[in-house]
């Protein structure tokens, strides 16, 4: 049970590195962006996991809930805004990829580099 308490963090580590692998190893630019959003999701998960209190509940007061235990609201605030920022920045990245496709005719990194060398 002691080790199971760290399971959430292991999932974070593995997800983070799956995203990282997609960013460094894949040459397709859309795939890199997908990897980036996996990476981002892993970080979201870490923050929310850290804010959880065992036996706690969502930090929203309700009638008839005196001295209930609440989870930490602060990480939730940070991640809530980060999700919307994340989709906007992903859209910006996709915009850049579309422009690259229009100019180079490909979205594979090594082909783009070859065209640049010429």
């Amino acid at each position: 049970m002691e080790l199971l308490g760290l399971f959430h963090y292991w999932v974070f580590a593995v997800l983070l590195m799956i995203g990282f692998y997609a960013v460094v190893a894949k040459v397709n630019l859309v795939k890199k962006l997908i990897g980036l959003s996996l990476f981002q999701a892993a970080v979201f998960l870490l923050y929310i996991t850290m804010g959880k209190v065992s036996g706690g509940t969502a930090p929203i007061f309700q009638a008839g809930m005196t001295d209930a235990l609440f989870s930490n609201p602060l990480p939730q605030v940070l991640i809530l805004t980060a999700i919307v920022v994340g989709i906007s920045t992903t859209a910006l990245g996709l915009g850049i990829v579309v422009r690259i496709k229009e100019e180079y005719g490909t979205i594979e990194e090594h082909e783009i580099q070859e065209i640049d060398r010429r």
Partner: protein
């Protein structure tokens, strides 16, 4: 007693995920995404009552309304792809 439903939903989610991984066609994958969406609605509704927080139902409502958009986007994507290919073929012939 909510546990029975939660466990059934979770197992079905796992089965749908297996279907999404196996394919074989892209339509199977769209089907399992759609199925996964409905299962999430059920799961969230049950968890809301399991945790004794009925205000979580807003989330299930959001999914019930929004999930539809994904499937329609896929349909529109297939249609415009077919139109694009037809236009390309016509362009090649000309």
């Amino acid at each position: 007693m909510y546990y029975v439903v939660t466990i059934a939903t979770l197992i079905t989610m796992a089965l749908a995920l297996v279907r999404a991984l196996l394919g074989p066609t892209v339509y199977d994958r769209v089907l399992s995404v759609n199925m996964f969406g409905t299962k999430t609605v059920l799961l969230i509704a049950v968890i809301a009552f399991l945790a004794g927080r009925p205000d979580f139902l807003d989330l299930a409502l959001a999914y019930a309304l929004i999930n539809f958009i994904g499937v329609l986007a896929v349909l529109e994507f297939f249609k415009s792809r077919a139109a694009r290919r037809a236009a390309e073929r016509a362009g090649d012939d000309a």
